[in-house]
Symmetry: D2
Subunit: 296 residues, 4 copies
């Protein structure tokens, strides 16, 4: 009462329609860049609540102050569970932070990354198919599997079976970002990605974390034909031994918690039956032309 | 491409400033009620993404489609960890859903609830102090401890020490909602509530869950002088034995995960030093008049 | 300074995209009605700045506190300039306020109105074509002539020539609402309606007025084969003699000002060459199917 | 239908609360500058609907594509009505466009301008009081007379009487911007400025024009002890003789229309009784400290 403060309302805003009926808005410091490539519209914004933010086709991809949650969660569980990860393939990852986390692992000798100055679809596939090489860990850091979107094929059972799995070394691990994983939003793609990977790999671990700038829980799925056996303490030990510097978000307990999904999500994953596949009608094989993709 | 659909944009919106630089907006079906009591402005909205929603003083309190996450998390962990909870006191809880969850417990014989047709502050305190009675579980379902707000006193060390703890029966448990618990937002009140309760009780368990309509992780803290010893399976067994009907969100594993906080939050809780107290300057004792409270 | 007042921000808003890059938002008291007919989506809102407001297909049609500006401007200039208006035909006008203004004229004996429980296009046309009758004044109170919209045909040269003009009695006057008439926005439809009517009638008078709830100047065009000769004082005299009650917005001087357009708009109307016509490709004659129309 | 186009929604917006219940939002290309002087917050935005726009303390001041309406209306009527305007004093006008319009007049020999790297209040007053000089035209291009705002004194009867009028040469004219002049909004300040000037000058002419980026009609008032006698044709003739280049908005007819207010506004101006004065309580004379001013 005595110290009422009249805060000047913010007048410049970034506004995202998370879904048709739901908006998420950040006050803006400035618009650093607006542009378009052949495949997507790109904006680099300086936002007040989340720092610098990359927006592609009207969807927030990554924000300065909390991207560490996404990237630590994407990279470290798979690499830590691997016996000794030396060679890594990243599908996507153009922003660079996935590579940054990988290179903190002392064991890593080689990182191959494939992103989109050519379209993700064509290149990613081509690279993996063309090369003789196999990898210890393959990481999927791609846009969500929207039908008609540029990345849909890279989430199908066929792709996992014929392209990803054959390029994993013995004991190799595949991990992919897997879209929203909230108590309601996990049915969009998370449960299907999980179920599709279950058709192809013996051991599949879904896990999730809240990312403030996304206004939601996010999901990842890790898969292998070798079991995932480490407990929280063993993960912590490997982190200490293998990773340079210290994680901000992830440690053994965090992963234990992240990979223990809530009852609601667990039940729904268990009962998921949909498997991603490339129906002939949906996808002209090897054609890979660039549709302007709308992730929403 | 072929089946482009022109969706009519929604034109009526509820807009909440979560913080000065951050907005969260729901498309509206209708405005069911707008009113004001002596102490607060109240709106009941019918929103498209979250169903019916209660808004007090411009802040979303509870939404139809996800209130079960909040109320299952507030009520069941404390009651399940208790040996045989018969008598329960709720501070706040006016919306009724806390009582609904309590009454699903077969052991519960008596629920006393104290909310705000008189101001929460005065009544809640008066009730607990006046009565001779003690309770097995006391539940804090109150607005956040904003200084100058109507509930601030009910989160102080003094209040916990002199009012709450003496009214707990042997083996009794206190649990309170504890504000936002996200990787950044937990420093607002969650870590202080945790630290304040640690000054008063021997065993204190913080836990959290994502609530979609809040656009954040939410926190609760459970406290007792009796240790919390149940594992996930034991919790599941007690649920089966004691609770009528089935939980939608919470089970043993969910609680295990919920009470295993991420590294970032754990570190920050461990290093919290602030203890809520009623500094003479901050609070005129026994005065308890109703300020129009702004929870933001 | 001393009496700083913390106004609670409004949380429920109606939001209209006037154009793709421009929004106009009203705080809401309530949403009185939401519905859809076969032809359009309808909302009746109670707004804080403009009172009750009718919204069709996401576009504000009429607001309680300033509809008098629109309806006085639509009705009175034509009726006052007429020698003795007895019979009136309204195309559109479903909201009722046009008829209300007409019935204030002592001379008016008959008002025929045609609106949209059947589609405007079919009925309006059918009525005028079927009936033998002629009218002293015909009033166009229709949605703007958007191509593909339901009212497009009712703004074409052919329609004016073959349907409207033959149904005017000797000395008859046609007047139509004519869309936005601002210094930039008049090029959308106002200048074309003006130019189209100039092809058909000897005397054509465009005029305009600011309507606060539209966030723009609005235009009307009045046309006849009899000249419009009254000055401000003569209009005032006729108003006194002929109209029951008193106008709030329009009098002789107001009309003089309203029909004296700014240099920018006048130049642009003079140089307009487009004439609305029903290109075969655009319109299947007599078919009148109901497209869901988007006025924007 | 055939050519449905999915327009990507705009994601960056400037949002202005015109009043508490009314917002006006422009899509943004970029934020060119954000800063603060001792007296005000300044933003220079590049907006999609109105081009570059200057925003001071959260209020749009001037937009690239329609500032010519404001500045032509402010400057030319007064200069054209003057017998031979040679010396001009501008209070305010920092943006430069007022001077630009003045310098198009062949007769103008001297323009003195006073704006705000020192506060408007102090400097404007000081300049006019200190100088011996008189002027043919004095132009008020200042923020609205909000009580407590920095410009309030410059709209009072005392100021007009003791400071402005004595500095006008024989036949001199004073003109000032006079705030919103819409059918409702003219009661905010327009009618009071008009009424205040009527106390001081023999001849006072209020006039108005719609400015799209303001979402409202704007008003100006012109005052003198010499009558304003020119008709539209005489104004056009003087424009041709005196002004270099061609106006975009204003000519003789436009001014005739602009100075013929609607019935609603005329009635309200005629019955206005409030006169701006510097009540002792409101204003500490000569003190001129810089409050952070809120124009809204």
């Amino acid at each position: 009462n005595g110290h009422a403060m009249v805060v000047q309302r913010k007048s410049c805003w970034y506004e995202e329609e998370i879904e048709e009926n739901l908006r998420w808005c950040f006050a803006l410091n400035s618009i650093l860049h607006t542009g378009a490539t052949q495949y997507q519209d790109i904006q680099l914004l300086d936002t007040k609540p989340f720092g610098k933010a990359l927006v592609i086709d009207g969807k927030l991809q990554s924000a300065e102050i909390d991207e560490f949650i996404y990237h630590e969660s994407l990279v470290h569980p798979a690499l830590l569970h691997h016996q000794l990860p030396k060679t890594i393939f990243i599908m996507g990852g153009g922003e660079g932070s996935t590579a940054r986390e990988l290179l903190r692992h002392r064991s890593v000798e080689k990182v191959v990354m494939c992103d989109i100055d050519e379209p993700v679809v064509v290149r990613g596939r081509a690279e993996l198919q063309r090369k003789e090489e196999c990898y210890d860990v393959i990481i999927g850091d791609l846009a969500d599997p929207i039908e008609g979107g540029p990345c849909y094929q890279l989430y199908t059972k066929t792709f996992y079976e014929l392209t990803v799995k054959p390029r994993l070394n013995q004991g190799g691990i595949f991990v992919t970002q897997a879209g929203p994983a909230g108590v309601f939003s996990h049915t969009e793609v998370f449960s299907c990605i999980y179920n599709t990977l279950k058709q192809v790999f013996k051991y599949v671990v879904p896990y999730s974390a809240h990312i403030p700038s996304y206004a939601d829980i996010w999901g990842w799925v890790m898969a292998s034909d070798t079991p995932f056996l480490l407990n929280a303490d063993e993960l912590d030990l490997r982190m200490k031994q293998r990773i340079k510097g210290e994680n901000r978000y992830l440690d053994g307990k965090t992963f234990t918690s992240a990979s223990t999904l809530s009852k609601a999500v667990r039940k729904s994953l268990d009962s998921e039956t949909h498997v991603y596949s490339e129906g002939a009608a949906r996808f002209i094989y090897g054609h890979g032309t660039a549709h302007k993709h709308n992730q929403g």
